[in-house]
């Protein structure tokens, strides 16, 4: 069964009424190129604050590329054109201090990547680099961010152990804790559970649902059940085009675009 050719003009992209919904981040006409290869076309999405938005699609559909462009992690590997509006500021502009911006838009990666330091230092390291010296304050942040990432009870007696002594799922939650210790606005997650077993995955999912009370979460996932379980909105990517963006329940029950329908019914990908 080959992949059907879909009409990239057949789109259904949700737009929010800005009077009723508070928007966390908006992209306009985002284009990403790897060398000569056009990897993402016309990325136009709006993300509502304190919601979980899933980005789904087959491998190579451009969903990770899109996500990594949001906090400029693609700067050295790709050319990104278009606007990324965060608090009315185009963060895709050359004038933006990307290091400052990344404190507001944090990221968790596909494979757990804790620093080769102790559990405690993994969380305090970046804070200290920013000049936070107060020991008591640091301890407080270690505790709250580990609690937020649902890891505290498992590691509270082992804070000085190496982060690599944790299991994969714990490492990933540590990475989440490390990111939220920076008090970001937006949390970008790039398939955070794809390398984990089902139990760790469900723990991460519970954590995310809890976190959306205070963070806007955008998550790339391969796993459609995961998208339908935890997210409020879902965007479907196909070959670098965003073909459908709607409430998650609409995407999974009554998709309006042929390609989305084929993808969620398992016809390709």
């Amino acid at each position: 069964m080959g992949i059907n050719k879909y009409d990239f003009n057949e789109k259904n992209i949700l737009k929010f009424d800005s009077n009723e919904h508070e928007l966390a981040i908006v992209t306009k006409n985002l284009q990403v190129f790897y060398g000569d290869k056009h990897a993402l076309f016309d990325g136009d999405l709006e993300f509502e604050r304190y919601k979980i938005t899933s980005l789904i699609g087959a491998s190579g559909s451009g969903k990770s590329t899109y996500l990594r462009s949001l906090n400029r992690m693609n700067d050295n590997v790709a050319r990104v054109e278009g606007e990324i509006l965060y608090r009315g500021l185009n963060v895709n502009s050359k004038k933006i201090n990307v290091y400052e911006m990344r404190k507001h838009i944090g990221m968790v990666f596909q494979r757990p990547n804790p620093f080769s330091k102790s559990i405690r230092e993994n969380i305090t390291f970046a804070l200290k680099e920013q000049g936070l010296k107060n020991k008591k304050k640091l301890e407080e942040i270690v505790e709250t961010s580990l609690k937020d990432a649902a890891l505290w009870d498992e590691v509270k007696d082992d804070l000085d152990k190496s982060a690599w002594s944790l299991s994969g799922g714990q490492q990933q939650r540590l990475c989440i804790a490390r990111t939220i210790a920076m008090k970001p606005d937006i949390l970008l997650l790039d398939e955070p559970a794809s390398a984990l077993d089902p139990i760790s995955t469900s723990k991460i999912e519970e954590t995310l649902v809890e976190l959306k009370k205070r963070y806007t979460i955008i998550i790339v996932t391969h796993n459609m059940q995961q998208a339908s379980r935890i997210s409020d909105y879902t965007a479907f990517f196909h070959l670098g085009h965003i073909l459908e963006y709607d409430k998650t329940k609409h995407i999974f029950t009554t998709p309006k675009v042929t390609a989305t329908n084929d993808y969620i019914s398992g016809n390709f990908g």
């Binding site: 906090n71 990221m107 990666f109 080769s116």
Partner: protein, 295 residues
């Protein structure tokens, strides 16, 4: 059946070759150590060498070797650290970087005697530095720099890119990410490389014969003012090292116990290099544990 036979033959051949390598090493080490160790004594390790009478030691040469090694590391480590960081983390893929890499490779394949003669012409003669520790240290730096740079670059490269992304995604600058996350993680590998390189530098003779010179001038171990010509720390005095001493005794030594001094010196040299090799492993492992908080 045929596959099994082939497999067995291949494994046997490989085992024999491996055993041969170990055997050669064991024979070399054994021979040097057995003939040399009986001559090693506290007196031998500390006394000044004698040119015409027996009973001379290698105290000055040993000190010179160590001092030269330290000086070489002080000069070459910062340069290769900078070059290694640049090549691994910052260098864009262009002609300039390719040229730098090429230059390093050519430099590392230069025969050490050529480095020595070059040092002789440029530092000793042209820049009028004479046969001196400083000339020797600079020549050894040429010799050590490419290896150390490669080692540092490769140790840094071995740190997964995920770590760089982790640092950047937390809002750290590239420089902070490199110096505070990547470098500590690469440090065990770097230290191992430095110590192994130190072993090579310690045993180097050809590059030093025409730069640091072949004479062990009398130095006064009570005088630590580096500007005094009899001070051990003086940079401008000629300094025969242990390896050069061995070469010299065997080519023109006239003392009655030349063979014994040569054997003893060789044993000391080998033991020192072995210590470097083993400590490289131990220090590397311990550093890794300490820096990564693995218990």
């Amino acid at each position: 059946m045929k596959t099994k036979l082939q497999n067995n033959v291949a494994i046997t051949v490989i085992r024999v070759i491996a055993a041969l390598v170990v055997l050669i090493l064991a024979f070399l080490l054994g021979d040097i150590l057995i003939s040399g160790i009986p001559h090693i004594s506290w007196h031998f390790l500390t006394a000044a060498s004698q040119s015409f009478t027996s009973g001379g030691g290698i105290g000055v040469q040993l000190f010179n070797s160590i001092y030269l090694l330290i000086l070489t590391l002080i000069i070459s480590f910062p340069i290769s650290l900078g070059a290694g960081i640049f090549l691994s983390e910052y260098a864009p893929k262009n002609i300039f970087t390719a040229t730098v890499r090429m230059a390093i490779e050519v430099l590392s394949s230069l025969p050490s005697v050529v480095v020595g003669l070059f040092g002789f012409l440029l530092f000793v003669v042209q820049m009028d530095m004479g046969f001196s520790i400083l000339s020797g240290a600079i020549a050894l730096t040429f010799f050590n720099l490419p290896l150390l740079t490669r080692n540092i670059e490769e140790s840094l490269r071995a740190v997964p890119d995920l770590q760089r992304e982790a640092g950047l995604s937390l809002g750290l600058s590239k420089w902070k990410t490199v110096t505070k996350i990547i470098l500590p993680e690469a440090l065990p590998g770097i230290v191992t490389g430095v110590v192994l390189g130190a072993g090579r530098v310690f045993g180097e003779a050809a590059a030093l014969i025409y730069t640091a010179g072949q004479s062990a001038t009398n130095i006064n171990f009570g005088n630590w003012n580096p500007f005094n010509s009899t001070s051990p720390l003086n940079l401008m005095r000629p300094a025969e090292t242990l390896a050069v001493h061995i070469w010299k005794i065997n080519s023109e030594g006239v003392m009655p116990d030349a063979a014994a001094v040569s054997a003893g010196s060789s044993a000391v040299l080998i033991i020192a290099v072995l210590i470097f090799n083993f400590s490289a492993r131990v220090i590397g492992n311990q550093l890794y544990r300490k820096l990564t908080a693995t218990k």
